[in-house]
C-alpha cells in the first residue's frame, strides 16, 4: 500500500492550491547497488487528482521524477470543504489513495 501522502489544499481567492508530497523510492532501474547489480525500476506511473469527485489532473510519470515526489497544482471553481483525493499507481501495480478537504 505504500506510505501515506501529505496533502495540503488551501483556498486562495478563487483558486485552490494543492500541494502533494508522496513517499516513494522512484527507482529508475539504472542505479547499481553495492554489489554492482542493477536495482530494478520501481516508480509511480500514474497520479490522479480529483476534487469533489471530479478528476482535475491525470498524470503519467516516467522514472525521471525525483524520489519522494512533490506535486503542486492549482484548481479553480472549488469550494472550502470539498474533498480532495489523490491516487497513485506504480509499475508494480501498487496503489495508494489519500484524501483531505480544502481548507
Amino acid at each position: 500500500m505504500g506510505n501515506p501522502m501529505k496533502i495540503r489544499a488551501t483556498l486562495n481567492g478563487d483558486t485552490t492550491d494543492i500541494k502533494i508530497l508522496m513517499r516513494h523510492d522512484m527507482e529508475t532501474g539504472q542505479r547499481k547497488d553495492a554489489a554492482g547489480a542493477l536495482v530494478p525500476a520501481w516508480y509511480i506511473q500514474s497520479v490522479v487528482v480529483s476534487v469533489a469527485g471530479k478528476t482535475v489532473i491525470n498524470a503519467g510519470w516516467g522514472q525521471a521524477v525525483s524520489k519522494d515526489p512533490y506535486l503542486a497544482l492549482k484548481v479553480k471553481g472549488a469550494n472550502k470543504g470539498d474533498p480532495v483525493s489523490v491516487t497513485w499507481t506504480d509499475n508494480k501495480n501498487d496503489t495508494r489513495t489519500d484524501e483531505t478537504t480544502i481548507a
Binding site: 489532473i57 503519467g60 525521471a64
Partner: protein, 155 residues
C-alpha cells in the same frame, strides 16, 4: 470476548468501505492509468517522444513559462514549474533532453485545473528542459537550459 467482537466489526467495516469504493470505480487501477500510452516514456530522444505523442514540431511560445533556477546544485532533485497562459490548455508535458528517457511527466488537465504545475525531477547532467503544452488542439513549447552542478563546488 467483547474486544474480539470489536475487531471483527472493524474488519467488516473496512472491507465494506473497500468494496464500496471499488463499486463506484474510485480505486480501479484501469481508471488511474494516464490517457497516453507508456511508449512515450520509453522513447530515447525528444523527437521519438513527439512521435509517440503524435506531436508535429511544436511552436515556440512565450506564453509557456518554465519556472526553474538556471543552476541546480543537486541533479537528483530539480524543482521545475510550468505555467501556460494559453487559453484552453489541455495537457502539459515535461521533457529533459539529455535524460535516458526524455519524457519525465505528462499531465492531462480538465477544465477545473489551472495550467500551473510544479514538480521535482532528476537530471543526469546539464541539459535543456522542454515544456510541451497542448492548447486548443495545437502544441506549443518553451525551452530552458538548467545547469547541474556536480560535486557541489559551484559553477
Amino acid at each position: 470476548m467483547n474486544k474480539d467482537r470489536r475487531k471483527v466489526l472493524k474488519a467488516g467495516a473496512g472491507l465494506g468501505l473497500l468494496s464500496a469504493l471499488m463499486a463506484v470505480g474510485m480505486i480501479s487501477p484501469q481508471q488511474a492509468q494516464a490517457a497516453i500510452g507508456r511508449g512515450a516514456f520509453d522513447a530515447k530522444t525528444i523527437d521519438d517522444v513527439y512521435k509517440a505523442l503524435g506531436v508535429a514540431a511544436p511552436t515556440a511560445s512565450d506564453q509557456v513559462v518554465i519556472n526553474a533556477s538556471d543552476i541546480a546544485e543537486n541533479g537528483a532533485v530539480v524543482p521545475i514549474g510550468i505555467r501556460s497562459n494559453l487559453p484552453n490548455t489541455q495537457a502539459i508535458a515535461l521533457l529533459v533532453e539529455r535524460n535516458p528517457n526524455p519524457l519525465a511527466a505528462h499531465y492531462d488537465l480538465t477544465d477545473m485545473a489551472v495550467a500551473d504545475i510544479t514538480m521535482r525531477v532528476k537530471m543526469g547532467q546539464t541539459s535543456n528542459v522542454v515544456a510541451l503544452v497542448m492548447a486548443d488542439g495545437k502544441f506549443f513549447s518553451a525551452t530552458k537550459e538548467i545547469k547541474i552542478t556536480l560535486g557541489g563546488c559551484g559553477g
